[in-house]
């Protein structure tokens, strides 16, 4: 566990800074109150609102680790939300709607995975297709309007409380834990990193590369469908135009803040989740401070710029020198 804290150190400091800024803006931010069996408080709020991006980041991290990218997750959110709304409106029970939405995510992910693995399209190109067409498909299902629904079961995906926590928080945490277990308690994580770092060496070592590649896109689609369900339940309607709009970028950013290189290789589900929480924390802080929410975009740009400079090969030697000097000073 100490290894994780070492790896997470810089992000934890960043998170602490973001939380401190939140406290400075709203002094009671860290307080937790239990009202009618449900916890309320700033941190719960961040997790609750951040749940969709956390889910997307959970799906995106393994994709990026294989040197890929999934631009279509926002569109998949919209499709999944639309499918869920349409099916409760057609008279199906909410569990059927949930399963239908998840199935849709699966199929979308499979489509991406097949284009990347079998047809060998560049991931950015392959997922661009669904990114463009997906929103059209969602609009076709909702017939161009916000498809509202009154089913309390489906709405409960966003508003229900379980164990004192809002359901989206629990879903995000459960997804993070299941994915984390799936990649670290099995050999999937090792295989994903091997395929992402050196596809040829991985193949010669017997790693089933095609299955791994398709799998990560399918998982990303599934996570996007979950996020889409939450987004639709939140407004009790499927908004094909705006559901998940630009969230793929947030998810990619969260994964990059989580330390995964866009050139593939090492990845961490927990650090990517941390990245998503930091992003949501920044957003919340700006909102609470009454600052224009637009500042958030500039701040995000600054954060990526920083990460890019730090990750760039040109800066690596300088950073290595700096850390050895710091370490030496620490030892002395």
């Amino acid at each position: 566990m100490s290894g994780w804290f070492m790896a997470a150190r810089s992000r934890l400091i960043l998170l602490a800074l973001v939380l401190l800024a939140n406290v400075a803006v709203a002094p009671g931010f860290l307080e937790l109150r239990l009202v009618e069996g449900r916890l309320f408080g700033g941190i719960i709020d961040i997790l609750n609102r951040g749940a969709p991006v956390i889910l997307l980041a959970i799906g995106m991290a393994p994709v990026i680790a294989t040197r890929g990218i999934d631009l279509s997750v926002g569109a998949i959110m919209a499709i999944a939300g639309a499918v869920a709304a349409a099916s409760v409106n057609a008279g199906h029970a909410w569990p059927v709607a949930v399963l239908a939405a998840l199935g849709t995510g699966l199929v979308c992910g499979l489509w991406n995975g097949v284009l990347v693995t079998i047809f060998r399209l560049q991931p950015i190109v392959a997922t661009l297709i669904l990114m463009v067409a997906g929103r059209g498909i969602a609009q076709m299902i909702t017939e161009g309007r916000v498809l509202t629904f009154t089913d309390d079961g489906l709405a409960g995906v966003s508003s229900a409380t379980l164990l004192g926590l809002p359901l989206p928080v629990l879903i995000a945490l459960a997804a993070a834990m299941i994915t984390g277990l799936l990649v670290r308690a099995t050999a999937l994580g090792l295989f994903i990193e091997a395929v992402g770092t050196s596809p040829r060496a991985a193949r010669l070592a017997g790693v089933p590369a095609p299955g791994i590649l398709i799998g990560v896109y399918v998982w990303s689609g599934l996570m996007a469908a979950l996020a889409g369900l939450i987004a639709a339940a939140d407004i009790r309607g499927a908004d094909a135009n705006n559901a998940g709009l630009w969230l793929e970028l947030d998810a990619i950013l969260a994964v990059v803040i989580g330390g995964t290189s866009l050139y593939g290789g090492r990845f961490s589900i927990s650090l990517s989740v941390l990245g998503a929480v930091i992003l949501q924390g920044m957003r919340t802080c700006i909102l609470r401070a009454g600052l224009p929410p637009e500042l958030n975009l500039l701040l995000m740009a600054l954060v990526i710029a920083l990460v890019l400079v730090v990750q760039s090969p040109a800066c690596q030697p300088a950073i290595a020198r700096l850390t050895t000097r710091l370490r030496r000073r620490g030892a002395a």
């Binding site: 990218i69 047809f119 060998r120 399209l121 560049q122 950015i124 190109v125 661009l128 297709i129 669904l130 990114m131 463009v132 067409a133 997906g134 929103r135 059209g136 498909i137 969602a138 609009q139 076709m140 017939e143 161009g144 094909a240 970028l249 990619i252 950013l253 990059v256 866009l262 050139y263 224009p292 929410p293 637009e294 500042l295 958030n296 975009l297 500039l298 701040l299 995000m300 740009a301 990526i304 710029a305 890019l308 400079v309 990750q311 760039s312 090969p313 040109a314 800066c315």
Partner: protein, 325 residues
């Protein structure tokens, strides 16, 4: 002189699709043949066309630019603030925005080259930066009432049949001609193709890849600023959320126009047709009245898929077989 080969096939396919689509439209709605509709097609899609000119450079060089929509949005707001707020003459404001756009793009190109970062993520950062800055300037739509705008919008060429080709449509056509000349008839243009063909080989052949990368993104951002000016003239207002997602339309237009997303193959004329196909689908849906707008997205997605698949097949068959050593 032009021979049919694997390189020109996607362009010819695009041209075929356009002609077929136009014929179908004209068959159903003969009014679509009128020069008024044609003029409107060009005018309504002028900003997209100008963006596609810049995007053609970027994609040919093997890159991608996600920031163009945001730069366009920023330009419309900044123009409104400069003209209405600071009282600058529109021409002065236009010049400032074009120069500023060029510098911004050069910065993007420099970051891509020297940080060795993927263009995707660098231009994403630029997109956040430009959109954030635009929203900071104003979150509301600011109308531009300067009389010079009136003068400019009065300028037009009257086509036979009564269609009026306005200034912004002419600007777009001019951008295509200038971009085409730069791309196809100058040394710099060939360097763009070289970079997109294989950056390492281009370096071995003595091409300055840093300068070429900077040039490419400089052109793209300048075109995005020009698209902003055009949009400002078109709507006579500035709004920070102008052009959200329009970068995808521009990319789609370029790819449908026969340019390989992996770079190195394609041309300017195809991009114009790619823009017109998108415009035509929209026009058709408007004429039809019963079809909904989401069909545009599905149709564009399908065209993208078909063209990317076509390119993939062509690459597969035209690639020389490699032997191991």
């Amino acid at each position: 002189m032009m021979r049919v080969n694997a390189r020109t096939l996607p362009f010819l396919a695009t041209l075929g699709v356009f002609i077929l689509l136009y014929a179908l439209c004209a068959l159903q709605y003969p009014a679509m043949l009128s020069s008024r509709v044609i003029a409107n097609l060009l005018t309504d899609n002028a900003f997209l066309g100008v963006l596609a000119v810049g995007m053609t450079f970027v994609i040919l060089s093997g890159g991608i630019d996600l920031s163009v929509g945001a730069v366009m949005g920023f330009t419309t707001v900044a123009l409104a603030v400069m003209i209405e707020g600071a009282g600058l003459h529109p021409l002065v404001s236009f010049t400032i925005m074009l120069v500023g756009g060029a510098l911004f793009g050069c910065g993007i190109g420099a970051a891509i080259h020297w940080l060795k970062a993927p263009p995707f993520i660098v231009t994403l950062t630029a997109m956040f930066l430009a959109r954030g800055a635009a929203l900071l300037l104003s979150t509301d739509s600011i109308p531009v009432r300067h009389e010079f705008y009136q003068t400019l919008s009065g300028l037009s060429l009257t086509l036979p049949g009564g269609g009026r080709l306005g200034l912004i449509a002419l600007l777009m056509l001019l951008a295509f001609v200038a971009g085409g000349v730069l791309l196809h008839f100058t040394r710099a243009g060939l360097k763009v193709y070289a970079l997109g063909g294989n950056a390492r080989f281009a370096g071995l052949m003595g091409i300055d890849t840093a300068r070429t990368t900077i040039l490419v993104y400089g052109v793209s951002s300048t075109m995005a600023a020009l698209a902003g000016i055009i949009f400002s003239l078109y709507t006579r207002s500035g709004y920070a959320l102008t052009g959200v997602g329009v970068e995808l339309d521009a990319i789609a237009a370029v790819v449908i126009g026969g340019t390989l997303l992996s770079g190195g193959v394609g041309g300017m004329a195809g991009s114009l047709i790619g823009v017109l196909i998108q415009g035509l689908i929209l026009t058709w849906i408007t004429f039809d009245g019963s079809l909904s707008s989401w069909w545009t997205k599905i149709a564009i997605g399908m065209l993208l898929f078909i063209f990317i698949g076509l390119q993939r097949l062509i690459l597969q068959f035209s690639a020389p077989t490699r032997r191991t050593g």
